[in-house]
Every structure is written in C-alpha cells, then in structure tokens.
C-alpha cells in the first residue's frame, strides 16, 4: 500500500512539474468562455425579450398614418417613445438627423390584413437590434388584430423568465465542465503509460518490489484526484458567479465515477496499442462513441448532471448505482488484462 501511495505521489509531482494542469484549466476556462460567447449569440437571436428586459433599451419610433392605433399603446407599454408625424418629409428629416430609430407606417385597423411598413436605418447592426426590440410589440399587435377578428390565441398571458440562458448553462455547460476532466484524465493516463513504455522505464519500475497493478492503480488514482479537484473548482467558481449547483455532492461522486471509468478504459487502450499517438487517437474515438451512446440512456450522464444541478426531485443518488456497477466490473476485469498484456 505504501508503494501505491508513493507511486501516486510520484505521478502528481510529475504533473506539477509539467504545468499540465495549468493548461488543462486554461482549456476549460476557454470552453466556458466560448460557451458564453455562443450564449450571447443565442440570447441575442432567440431571446430578444431578455435583451429588452435586461438592457431597458428604449427606441424612438416615428409613426405615420393611424395615430389612434393600438400598436402605439403597445409600443408605449414597452417604454418606447412614440412621435406621431402627419408629414412623411418631416419624419424623414427627423430620422436622418438621428432623432428616430425607426419609422412605422400604420394603416387604419381594418377587418382585413394590415399591411404595415417599417423603415429601419441601413446599418446592419442597428437595424437588427431595432427589429429585435420591435418583435414583441409587433406580435402583441398581431394577436390584437386576431382577436378583433374573433380569433383567440391561447397561452398569451404566460410570463415566465427567459429560459435559454439557463437551459444552456445547466444542460450543456455544467455537464461539459463536469465531464471534461474525465477526458483529460484518460489522456493523462495514456501519456504517462506510453511514455514509460517507450522510454522502457516500466521495466525498471517492475523490477522494484511493486506490482503492475500498483503502478497502473497509482496512475489512475492520481488522475482521479486531479479530475476531482477540477470539478470542485468549477462548482465553486459557478457559485461565485451566482449559479447555484444543487446536489453538488452527488454530482461530484458521479464525476469521480465517470473519471475512474474513463481512466480505466484509457489504461486498457494504451496497453493494447502501446504507442502514444495511436492510443490517443483510438481513445478519443472510443470516448466519442461511448458518450454519444449514452444519449440513448435515460437519464444520460449529461441529463443526469443537468437535472441534479437544478434540483429535479425525480433524480438522486440512486441513479449513481449504474455507474458504481460499471466501475466495479471494470476494476474486477482490468488486473487480468494488464497482467496478460504486460507479460511480454
């Protein structure tokens, strides 16, 4: 047992010297930041309401045509400033002087199709923003017109909060952050094993009074420890940013189980292929396929993390049983495989 610990410590020291962990963390930070960029994009495009609500942007809208229109009330409800013009030339002058963000021409309400006209500035960015902000009043006006024709649209009064940010964070970011350490851990195990094999240091180690299983076990323990630290750091950082993660302990245990499973698989791959490049390649493919296969499991590891993190009452520690069984099987099988493969 003492040999085991000194081996694990040796691995951890090697890691610290290589500064690999710094890189690993940097990469995960990048993943997280990228997702915030994509998130920004998604929010801008799919959830314009949230921008209106958050930023409190107010538009100056010039109105031509029907000055009694319900649309004007709807604009004012959203705190946009409305100016009614009777003369197109004056409206145009105001628009060109930069005093208006948009001009709408509203025909009289009628029993028929209302053909509104919207004039936007030709600059792409501004036009997109203005149109996004006008989307909600326009939709409301459309529903108003539908009601005028005796056609009712249900579920209009649900308010709720913009959900896409939240959904993205809990169903994509947090699971990625929790499982990426597992991927890195496996990659580290392969590097470490194949380096020893190629430098022939494995044989030297084996001549010392430690068994092959102690050596591999120590490497896996070291990678699990590093992975666990990363997951804990992420949960802590998320908390600092105001995103609460429920069931944090259950999630951490799940992460450790997954890290251990992936690390064991990596060990097997590296023992079969021996050279680093091929092992890494096959390992990446295996992980890719396995993770996509989990999509058909319900709850999938991804969904399980997402639901645990939001405090879904339908999931809990019980769901971890499957992973415990899988890990147990792998631990039971691996020693036989390693013995056979390292005999040569």
């Amino acid at each position: 047992m003492k040999g085991f610990f000194s081996m694990a410590l040796r691995e951890l020291k090697a890691l610290r010297k290589e500064k690999t962990i710094m890189f690993a963390i940097l990469i995960q930070l990048f993943i997280a930041s990228f997702s915030s960029v994509i998130l920004l994009g998604i929010m801008v495009y799919y959830d314009p309401d949230s921008i209106g609500q958050n930023a409190q942007l107010r538009l100056d809208v010039g109105v031509l045509g029907d000055s009694e229109s319900q649309f004007i009330n709807l604009l004012e409800q959203r705190h946009h400033r409305v100016r009614v013009f009777s003369d197109a030339a004056k409206a145009e002058a105001a628009f060109k002087a930069g005093r208006l963000d948009a001009i709408v021409y509203i025909p009289e309400d009628s029993k028929d199709v209302v053909e509104m006209k919207l004039v936007l500035p030709e600059m792409d960015a501004q036009a997109t923003l203005v149109l996004m902000l006008l989307k909600e009043p326009l939709e409301k006006y459309e529903n108003y017109l539908r009601e005028q024709q005796g056609l009712s649209v249900r579920y209009q009064d649900i308010r709720g909060k913009p959900f896409s940010t939240n959904e993205f964070l809990y169903t994509i970011i947090i699971p990625i952050l929790m499982f990426f350490p597992a991927f890195i851990a496996g990659s580290m195990v392969i590097d470490s094993i194949s380096e020893e094999m190629e430098n022939k240091t494995l044989e030297t180690l084996l001549s010392a009074p430690v068994s092959i299983n102690q050596i591999t076990g120590a490497k896996i323990a070291a990678s699990v420890a590093v992975g666990l630290l990363q997951c804990m750091a992420w949960i802590f950082l998320l908390g600092l940013n105001g995103f609460s993660v429920q069931n944090a302990w259950v999630i951490l245990i799940l992460s450790v189980l997954v890290i251990a499973i992936v690390a064991l698989l990596a060990l097997l791959v590296s023992l079969v292929y021996r050279d680093r490049e091929r092992s890494q390649f096959i390992y990446s493919l295996v992980i890719l396929v396995l993770f996509s296969l989990t999509y058909f499991v319900n709850p999938s590891p991804f969904a399980l993390v997402a639901r645990l993190a939001t405090g879904d009452p339908f999931v809990g520690a019980g769901q971890l049983l499957v992973y415990v069984v899988m890990l147990g099987l792998l631990i039971a099988v691996t020693p036989f495989v390693t013995k056979r493969l390292t005999k040569v």
Binding site: E115, P121, Y170
Partner: protein, 594 residues
C-alpha cells in the same frame, strides 16, 4: 505514406468500426431530434391540455384538484391546462414557464394556421425598408421615405421619381382615402406568408445562411419571424478547420518523431537550408489541406477560387502555430497540451469575431466571416479580405523566420523552461548587427500575435462579473502589449548587446513607434471597413494620435530602462511598472478614472 505506415492493419479495422458506430449513433440522434437534457422541465398536465411532444419536458399527469399542491411542493414546475398555465415565483418554475410558453406559442401558431384562412390567421404583414444611415450624405439617398410610405403625399413630394411601378402592396391601401376595400383581395404577401409558414413547419435542423433579419422590401409576419441562425459560422468552422487541425497534428508529430529519432541531425548536416527542410516537411501537409478545402467547397457548392483565397491564409496560419508547437516541444505531455492550447487559441481567433457577423464589422478579422458571405453569394471588398488575411500571413512569416533561425541541434534538443526557450528564439532570430531594424520588425510581426492573445483575453473575461471583467481586460491587454514591445529590447540587454542607456532608450522608442504604427494601420483598415465616413477622419484629425504614441514610447522606455538597470531578473517587475502606467491611462480614457 507516413499515414499508411502508422495506421495499417488492425488499426484500420478498429477505426472503421468506431467510425461506423459514430455514424450510426449520430444519424439516430438526428432522426430523433437532438435534445441534450431529456426531462429537464417537469410539466404537470391536466386531462384537457394540448399534447406536448418535446423531450425536454417531463410530463406528469396531474388532476386539476391536486395541481395546487403539486406545484407548491415542487413536484412539478408548471401546470398546463387546456386554457392556461400556472407556475410559481421561483427561478426554476419561471424558467420552465418561459420554456413551455415558447413551445405552446409555436403550437398555437400552427393550430391557427391550420384552422383559419391565411388572412385571418396572419392579419399583420410588415414590409421592411431601409433608409441610409443618418450620418450619410442626404442627397445621396436614392430612395426617400415618401417613396417608401407613399402616405398619400404624392402630390406634394416632387422628389418622387417613380410612381407605384415596383410596389406591389400599395394599390389598395391609400390611407387618405381611408376606405378599406370591402372584400378581401388575396394580396401578394399571402404567398410570402405561406412560404414562411412552410419554413416554420419543416423546422429543419440545417441552418440557413441568412444575411440579416430581413432584406429590403421583404415582408415579415411577426409571429413567423425567424432570426438568422448564428451557428452557421460555427458549422463552417467545423467543416473546414477541423480537418486542417487533424492534418497539422500529423505534421507536428512527424516533426517531433524525427527530432527524437535524431533524423533531423542527419538532415542538418546535409547541404540543405533550414528553410528548405521546414518547407519541405510542411508542403505535403499543406497540399492535403488544400485538397480538403477543395472537396468541402465542392460538397457545399461554394466558389472554388474564392474558397482557396480565403482558406490558404488560414492553412498557413494554423501550420505556423503548429510549427511553433513542434519547435518548443520537450515531452509528450507538453505536446498534447501545447496542441490543445493551440487549438483553443486558433478557434478563438477564428470563431469569436465571426460570431458578430452583421453586428460588428470587426468580424472581418475572421476569415470565416468571408466564408459565410461567400456561401450567401455576397461580395466583399479587397480591403475586407486583407483585414483577415494579412494578420494570418504575418503570423506565418514570424513563425517561419524564427523557425529557420533557431533550427540548430542545440536549440531543438535542449530541455530548458519555456520562457528561456522563447528568449533564446528571439535572440537567435534577430539580426545582431542591426538591432534597431530587428526591434522594429519584431514589433510589427508581434501585432497579430498580440491581437490573438487579446482576443483570448476577451473570451476569458466573459467568465467574470462585468466590473472585474473590464479591469481584467484592460490589465491583460496592457501587459500583453507592453511585453510585445519590450521583449526584444530585454533580450538584447540580457545578451549584453547594448552597452549604454542611450541605446536602450533608442531601441525602446523604435520598438514602440513601430508597434504603434502597425497597430494603427490595422485599426485604420478595420475602421475603413466599418464605414468610409467621418469616423476615420476623427481619429486622424486631432491629438488623438500623438498622445497614445507618446504613451507607448514612455511605457516601453520605463520597462526597458528598469530592465537595463536591474538586470533581466527584474523584467517581470519592469513589465508590471510599465503596464500600470499604461493601464492608468487607458482607464482614464475609458472614463473610469477622472
């Protein structure tokens, strides 16, 4: 040939099986519709509620009498009946309500479209028009508002050249007449509504390459308005850049293998120059990458010549960075992580600006923006092309220059710490007889590198809360810039190439001036891309240029003189001192400090 030697026999079989499995899985996922978190929201449904087919919702049948209790106890997040939905005030329930609202609204639109005639279901049509931006010259505007609206003022608007020749929606809606036609005449916009409805119902997963929300004269229906999908750029990035990454990784590992196998030593003693060795090793892989670009362009049916013009700099850029990885590398683990860092930095540089296509024209820094435009069939100017290509080519030039200079056995085989290796590389790469020229050239070549790191910093800062993020961003960018300007001078000091404080000062000023000039040329290019208007004049007119130039010189001088006085060990502290001065100035410009 290398590929075959390495991946023969059993390997091929294993890869094939795995690839087939991956293909099968992804097609199954595609058929089912991709939902990452099944059962994410818990939705209680009453007997009369509409059917909900969305795997995100975990449906729990709840009797109306029980619904209040179930909602309060947190067993369900939302309760949906045939008429309305109920929810709590906490975040979990509110988000679920938001999600179900979006889903039900879409369903309602489909129901209405199905049950009612088109003119009743979609009674509002909005025609989008664009007028020249306020800053533009008014007389240049070809179309006036009166043209667009024709709000009955035709008689008193002489500037109106054409009379309802191309407008198809005008005839039956003269508001001055104020008489809506008694019978509904199917308007031409009905066709457009039908088209938009089809798009909505097909809800295909393939993103459209849509230029903007709505093009000029396009008629939109508010409830069918679909925003452009921002993921097109990401999709393109994956299609083109991922294969290039793969190839460049083979390049790097081939390089490293020769380095370890001491085959490079044999090459070095042969009568070939380092440049020939590097290019000779790179060329086949660049060839493979070009073939991939051609194939992908043919598959997506893009313009072949344009695609090659856009992606050749990208290929060179990626290979330049991987050459750096191969040269700096020391151990296997190093290589894995260097490569990963390279992947993230490159993707950051390429994808991040491209997310802002149509929002900010600085997105032209990324070639993916051009690629998106190519696929949309839009044109771009030479200047826009240069803005994306020139920085990448500069990085390539830098990497090749440094690569050929450091290409000796001693440098390639040693195991010194990274910062020592970088300094050594700069020392080897500079022209020791013309220090000022070296400082100037390095300052210029470092600009795109600085830009890359600054983009990375922006991306990272998005993780932080806003005020902290701003501080972090200002500080990191300043440190990066100061380091780029002073590192060459610091190396000359370390190596004892300069003897007097006056020559240190001279080098520092040269370095700062060229960095500043290069940066401003880039800025000028990007500004003129943004608009050929008043903006550029403003930048170049006032004192706006002299103060920053002075600042750059002062800060670089501070860093260099401290390093000269106290030795290379003090360089980090010197850098900090220069950065603080620079940072304070930047903050005061932004208006944080007064």
């Amino acid at each position: 040939m290398r590929l075959r030697a390495r991946f023969g026999g059993k390997m091929i079989a294993a890869v094939l099986i795995l690839l087939i499995a991956a293909g099968a899985v992804s097609s199954l996922v595609y058929l089912q519709g991709m939902v990452l978190a099944k059962d994410f929201y818990i939705v209680g449904v009453s007997p009369g509620a509409p059917l909900i087919f969305d795997q995100r919702f975990h449906l729990v049948p709840v009797d109306p009498s029980q619904s209040g209790v179930a909602l309060k106890s947190g067993r369900i997040d939302v309760y949906v009946t045939g008429k309305a939905a109920f929810y709590r005030a906490d975040d979990r329930s509110q988000h679920a309500a938001g999600a179900i609202k979006k889903y039900l609204e879409k369903k309602e639109i489909a129901r209405i479209a199905d049950q009612y005639p088109l003119n009743q279901a979609f009674p509002l049509r909005v025609e989008v028009n664009y007028l020249k931006a306020p800053t533009e010259n008014m007389s240049a505007a070809a179309v006036t508002l009166a043209d667009i609206v024709r709000a009955g003022q035709e008689s008193n608007s002489p500037s109106n050249p054409q009379t309802s020749s191309d407008d198809n929606l005008i005839e039956d809606e003269n508001p001055l007449a104020g008489q809506p036609p008694a019978v509904y005449v199917p308007s031409e916009s009905d066709e457009l509504v039908k088209q938009q409805l089809e798009v909505l119902q097909s809800s295909s997963m393939v993103p459209e390459f849509k230029a903007e929300f709505a093009s000029n004269k396009q008629v939109i229906v508010p409830s069918l308005m679909s925003p452009p999908i921002p993921l097109a750029q990401v999709l393109l990035a994956f299609a083109y850049i991922l294969p290039i990454f793969f190839i460049s990784i083979f390049f790097t590992s081939g390089f490293i293998e020769e380095k370890l196998g001491r085959k490079l030593n044999i090459l070095l003693s042969a009568p070939v120059t380092p440049l020939q060795i590097i290019l000779g090793k790179m060329l086949p892989y660049i060839g493979y990458s070009l073939i991939i670009v051609v194939l992908i362009t043919l598959i997506f049916r893009g313009n072949l010549l344009l695609a090659l013009a856009i992606f050749l700099p990208v290929i060179l850029f990626i290979f330049a960075i991987y050459l750096g990885v191969a040269l700096q590398y020391r151990t296997y683990r190093d290589q894995t992580f260097f490569s990963l860092v390279a992947v993230t930095v490159i993707t950051g540089y390429l994808v991040f600006p491209a997310m802002f296509v149509g929002i900010n024209d600085l997105s032209y820094i990324s070639p993916l923006t051009l690629a998106v435009q190519m696929f949309r069939g839009e044109s771009f100017t030479l200047l826009q092309y240069m803005l994306s290509a020139v920085p990448m080519l500069l990085v390539f030039l830098l990497s090749i220059t440094v690569g050929t200079r450091v290409f000796n056995e001693e440098y390639l085989m040693n195991f010194k710490p990274l910062h020592v290796k970088v300094r050594e590389a700069i020392y080897l790469a500079m022209d020791r007889r013309h220090l000022a020229v070296s400082a100037a050239v390095f300052s210029l070549l470092f600009i795109p590198v600085v830009f890359m790191f600054e983009l990375a910093a922006i991306t990272l800062s998005l993780n932080l809360p806003t005020p902290v993020a701003l501080g972090f961003l200002v500080f990191t960018c300043v440190v990066i810039e100061e380091a780029a300007k002073s590192v060459t001078v610091a190396v000359t000091i370390e190596r004892g190439l300069v003897k007097t404080w006056a020559s240190v000062l001279w080098l520092a000023v040269v370095s700062a001036i060229f960095f500043f000039l290069g940066e401003k040329v880039l800025l000028f290019m990007s500004l003129s891309v943004i608009s050929e208007s008043v903006f550029t004049n403003a930048v170049f007119a006032g004192n706006l240029l002299w103060i920053p130039l002075l600042l750059h010189c002062v800060c670089t001088t501070i860093v260099c003189l401290i390093t000269w006085r106290f030795g290379i060990k003090s360089y980090p502290l010197a850098l900090l001192a220069g950065s603080i001065v620079h940072g304070l100035y930047n903050l005061s410009v932004i208006g944080v400090l007064r």
